[in-house]
């Protein structure tokens, strides 16, 4: 049994919130550079160059790469031999978000659904806890902006539509989203499970390093094929026309009920932010 004090969790979450919003991953910057080589639209090329410049300014000057610093989505990998001491895990995560959004001058974007009254400190966080064997403790914080989240969808298809039906849904979703999710995007796709599990799979798919290959060769082929179909749409960077609408399609799949074919598309804007830490 290993003990982890909540103070360390608060400090880590605070740090992750600030770093995730200011330091875009090198994998994403490399994907912008690769996209720039393939983009034919002069406007699209100009936009990609500016996204690279934007990431650099944010990192150097420690200001958020995007003003929408998002909903704080926190994934916890909790080893079952870990003992959290000094308080509740959930409270520690909330406090870390509160401090990080305050001290990092990050925009607080969370409000009451009807009155639209802002909670003032970007809480609550969305917390997903995955209990695992062992004594490790790993946190991933992924700030999720509203523009791209609004374009995401979950649906229940009939099993008869098969692979082609799922592909059509995914490509159509990107097409209908047009410029709104701030392309070039990363398209997270969750297939299978239940209604809510499909959505979670799609969100988890966004955490995979950009440019990494799916370990399943069948899914790897689908990711490549669907990305090509998406990039034939012509939407381009910022929806102003071009070859690069999305940088990657990431699929996560699991078995589903014999009657069902749940599919979720979680669109991630070009500010594909997330940071991890192990305690």
């Amino acid at each position: 049994m290993r003990s982890i004090h909540v103070d360390d969790i608060v400090r880590t979450v605070r740090d992750l919130a600030m770093r995730a919003n200011t330091e875009l991953g090198e994998d994403v910057v490399r994907a912008f550079e690769a996209a720039l080589e393939r983009e034919e639209s002069p406007t699209g090329q100009d936009i990609l160059k500016r996204l690279i410049e934007n990431a650099q300014i944010a990192r150097e000057e420690k200001i958020p790469m995007c003003q929408d610093t998002g909903f704080a989505v926190v994934f916890v990998e909790l080893g079952q031999d870990v003992h959290i001491v000094g308080g509740a895990l959930r409270d520690a995560i909330e406090e870390g978000v509160r401090q990080g959004y305050r001290d990092g001058y990050l925009r607080k974007s969370i409000c009451h659904p009807f009155t639209r009254q802002n909670t003032g400190d970007n809480t609550p966080a969305i917390v997903h806890i995955d209990l695992q064997p062992g004594d490790h403790f790993r946190l991933t914080l992924a700030p999720k902006g509203g523009g791209s989240e609004n374009m995401s969808r979950v649906t229940m298809l009939t099993p008869a539509v098969g692979v082609q039906g799922v592909k059509d849904f995914v490509v159509q979703r990107v097409k209908e989203s047009g410029p709104n999710p701030c392309p070039p995007t990363i398209v997270g796709v969750g297939i299978g499970g239940t209604f809510e599990q499909a959505a979670l799979l799609a969100k988890k798919a966004l955490l995979r390093p950009l440019g990494s290959l799916n370990p399943d060769p069948e899914l790897q082929a689908l990711e490549k094929d669907w990305l090509e179909a998406i990039n034939r749409l012509g939407i381009g960077p910022q929806g102003l026309g071009g070859r690069i609408t999305s940088l990657a399609v990431h699929i996560q799949m699991m078995p589903c009920h014999i009657a069902s074919l749940p599919v979720a598309v979680n669109i991630q804007c070009h500010a594909a932010r997330h940071k991890e830490a192990s305690l």
Partner: protein, 187 residues
């Protein structure tokens, strides 16, 4: 830094915007005002009641932005554009009262495009999410109305070489449609 960019100073004249075509890259200088959803609603209500506005409209440009908080020593935090379609319901009224330009991201509806043609105004796209880069072109920021709206308050921004792209011009051009048509590969 931006090749072939057109330099413009606000307030914009009718001839300034009539000369613009979709795809043109523009560097804006001078003053732009910020206003988002809630502020637009209030501005239009004031106009309907015939009451004065907290900002001038004639020849001016409104930027749809909700900046992140300014760190000490900075005029503003990250300041990229927000999605424009939420302002579509209000924009034609403001354009009809002299507004010459808007900056945002994403396509506009037919009513806005018609107002741009009729009243000679322009819609600029700024790069969504490029909040750090855009903030660099903002020299000063001052809240002039509705401070209670927080990030949605109306601000007077002084901008220097603020980079935008002409997305809808006075001639009916729409880069969101024509740009995509140019690069789409499926019939």
């Amino acid at each position: 830094m931006m090749p072939n960019a057109i330099l413009l100073k606000t307030p914009l004249s009718e001839s300034d915007v009539t000369a613009l075509r979709i795809g043109d890259r523009v560097l804006l200088n001078g003053v732009v005002y910020t206003a988002r959803d809630a502020a637009h609603k209030r501005l239009v209500e004031l106009l309907e009641r015939g009451e004065p506005l907290p900002l001038p409209l004639e020849g001016q440009v409104i930027y749809y932005v909700g900046p992140s908080p300014a760190a000490p020593g900075r005029p503003v935090g990250a300041a990229g554009p927000t999605t424009s379609y939420r302002m579509d319901a209000y924009a034609p009224v403001l354009i009809g009262h002299g507004l010459r330009g808007m900056i945002g991201k994403g396509a506009r509806n037919e009513a806005v495009k018609e107002a741009l043609r009729r009243s000679k105004a322009v819609y600029f796209a700024a790069i969504g999410g490029a909040g750090a880069l855009m903030a660099r072109s903002i020299v000063s920021a001052e809240i002039i109305a509705y401070p209670e709206l927080g990030p949605e308050a109306v601000r007077r921004l002084e901008v220097k070489n603020f980079p935008v792209i002409v997305a809808n011009d006075v001639h009916g051009g729409d880069l969101y449609e024509e740009g995509v048509r140019l690069y789409a590969q499926d019939a």
